[in-house]
Amino acid sequence: MAMKISIDRALCQGHSVCLGECPEVFNVEESDDAYPQVVLLQETPAEELRDKVMAAARYCPNHVITVTEV
């Protein structure tokens, strides 16, 4: 089993919780005139990042991040 991450950018308002929890996987792209938005740096990160990825998904205030097992 490995993690596969998907994000729904339409829901993202750039709160940056994911970046705080797991900067290895998530970045937040700044924008001049719209909400900053999450960018996925790795879609299938290594197993040792599981706890951090799960925290990012759980604490995202807008439920942007979905983790599935593949």
Partner: protein, 451 residues
């Protein structure tokens, strides 16, 4: 929803009881949450009512609410629907700004609520709550609505405007704020510029608040090396895409808009949470057990420690289901909509009712029963039925701040004190006289220090 309009489209069914001239205004004004539930019961998914000439289509149920909440400003305009906020927030601010500037202002507003700031806000809230309870003594009786209005005004000011402003706040500031809130009653959504003492007080309050906030802005501009870590600093450093900064008027407006969005919504929810805790001793005992496990060793109420308190969260979520602070969300239709074969014409208003949605027995069986353990979000459909913070691209950006603050307050209070109702349980009702829902006054509770 699609824009393709064909001739055989139906029109939304109309709600009965319309009166000449005023339409449904009178019934709406008595209790708009109940009026909207009647509209839905009578007409179903779409129900058209008349607000003194403004035709409004209530959209009910998860599918219709999803279509509403996913609507973009160019199709379903928030600005056109929320002109009542313009005299409160100010000219040129948010819903009175051109679309590009509005977008940037909202982005700068959210910047102030990001992860990094949240950590310092958590510390500020813990400090404020501790100061607030410090003179409670062994036992007593308080009106918790008044108390939470005071506490959350302090926390909002402190987090958003810094310690400076917070400790220089005067009774004048609170009174001004109160006048602004009164300026957003239902009548303001018909015409916010009527000649009324209510609106005159609102305008005087807006002008005076700008003077107070401008003073702080001027002081900070004169001392550019100091950092504050609060929202005002974020607002003052924010820029439009052409590099220009926000004007004093816009910064003041953004401060007012942010305080307004966060203050009364939080105080009303906190007061209802306290009342429901007093009404439900069995759930309160479970939460106390949870808090003891998490904080019994003297752990601080930091952002990290507050992230996950499942029983308390579920309790607050249930408070938000039965007593959603914003009952009615509105948009103005910019171009004709075909919603599942029904034509909603440009110029009409569309609305959704969180209060009605949260009482739909299909999704929330036995809806009037307070049950923290019930399902509120297990399926995508439930997520569009349970919408205390709205949803989609315009979801309330303060939702994480609000939850964090509520958790911090009750994680501090519950281990220290127990609460009981002063008045009969049925005396604590939803008060819908202002646009933000709150418990009816007085909301008296008795507290006693735990041994």
């Amino acid at each position: 929803m699609s824009g393709a309009v064909t001739p055989e489209l139906k029109l939304p069914p109309k709600v009965s009881g319309e009166k000449p001239g005023v339409g449904h205004m009178e019934e709406f004004s008595v209790n708009f949450a109940r009026f909207l539930m009647r509209c839905n019961d009578e007409c179903g998914e779409l129900a058209e009512y008349n607000m003194a000439g403004q035709q409004t289509v209530l959209m009910s149920g998860p599918a219709a609410q999803e279509a509403f909440l996913k609507g973009l400003d160019k199709h379903l305009s928030r600005a056109a629907a929320y002109q009542a906020t313009v005299p409160v927030f100010g000219k040129g601010v948010i819903f009175d700004a051109p679309p590009d500037r509005m977008k940037t202002q909202l982005k700068i507003q959210v910047d102030a609520l990001r992860y990094q700031n949240m950590k310092s806000y958590a510390a500020v809230i813990a400090e404020e709550v501790e100061a607030w309870v410090s003179d409670w003594g062994e036992e007593g009786e308080l009106d918790f609505l008044d108390e939470f209005i005071r506490l959350t005004l302090n926390t909002a000011c402190h987090c958003l405007l810094g310690a400076d402003f917070r400790y220089r706040m005067t009774a004048e500031f609170k009174a001004l704020y109160h006048d602004l809130e009164k300026g957003l009653q239902a009548i303001a959504f018909v015409d916010p510029y009527l000649q009324q003492p209510l609106f005159e007080a609102r305008d005087n309050a807006r002008a005076r608040l700008q003077e107070l906030i401008s003073e702080i802005i001027a002081e900070r501009r004169a001392d550019p090396d100091t950092t504050y870590g609060d929202a005002l600093e974020t607002f003052m450093s924010g820029t439009y895409s052409d590099g220009t900064s926000l004007s004093d008027n816009e910064i003041t407006g953004l401060v007012i808009a942010t305080m307004f969005a966060g203050h009364h919504t939080s105080s009303g929810t906190a007061a209802w949470t306290a009342v429901e805790l007093a009404r439900c001793p069995e759930y309160t005992a479970d939460i106390l057990e949870e808090l003891t496990a998490l904080f019994g060793g003297g752990q601080d109420l930091t952002f990290e420690n507050l992230r996950e308190i499942p029983r308390l969260e579920a309790f607050i979520e249930e408070v938000l289901r039965l007593h959603p602070p914003l009952v009615l969300l509105m948009r103005r239709v910019i171009e004709d909509i075909n919603y599942e074969g029904t034509l909603i014409e440009a110029g009409k208003t569309v609305a959704i009712s969180t209060y009605g949605s949260h009482r739909n027995p299909v999704f929330f069986p036995d809806p009037e029963t307070f049950n923290p353990c019930r399902d509120r979000a297990s399926t995508p459909e439930m997520m569009w039925a349970y919408i205390p913070f709205g949803g989609g691209p315009h979801k309330c950006a303060g939702n994480a701040f609000a939850m964090m603050q509520l958790k911090s307050i009750f994680a501090a209070l519950l281990p220290k004190y127990e609460f009981e109702l002063v008045d009969p349980p049925e005396d604590y009702q939803d008060d819908l006289s202002a646009i933000v829902l709150k418990p009816s006054s007085p909301s008296r509770l008795r507290y006693r220090r735990r041994t």
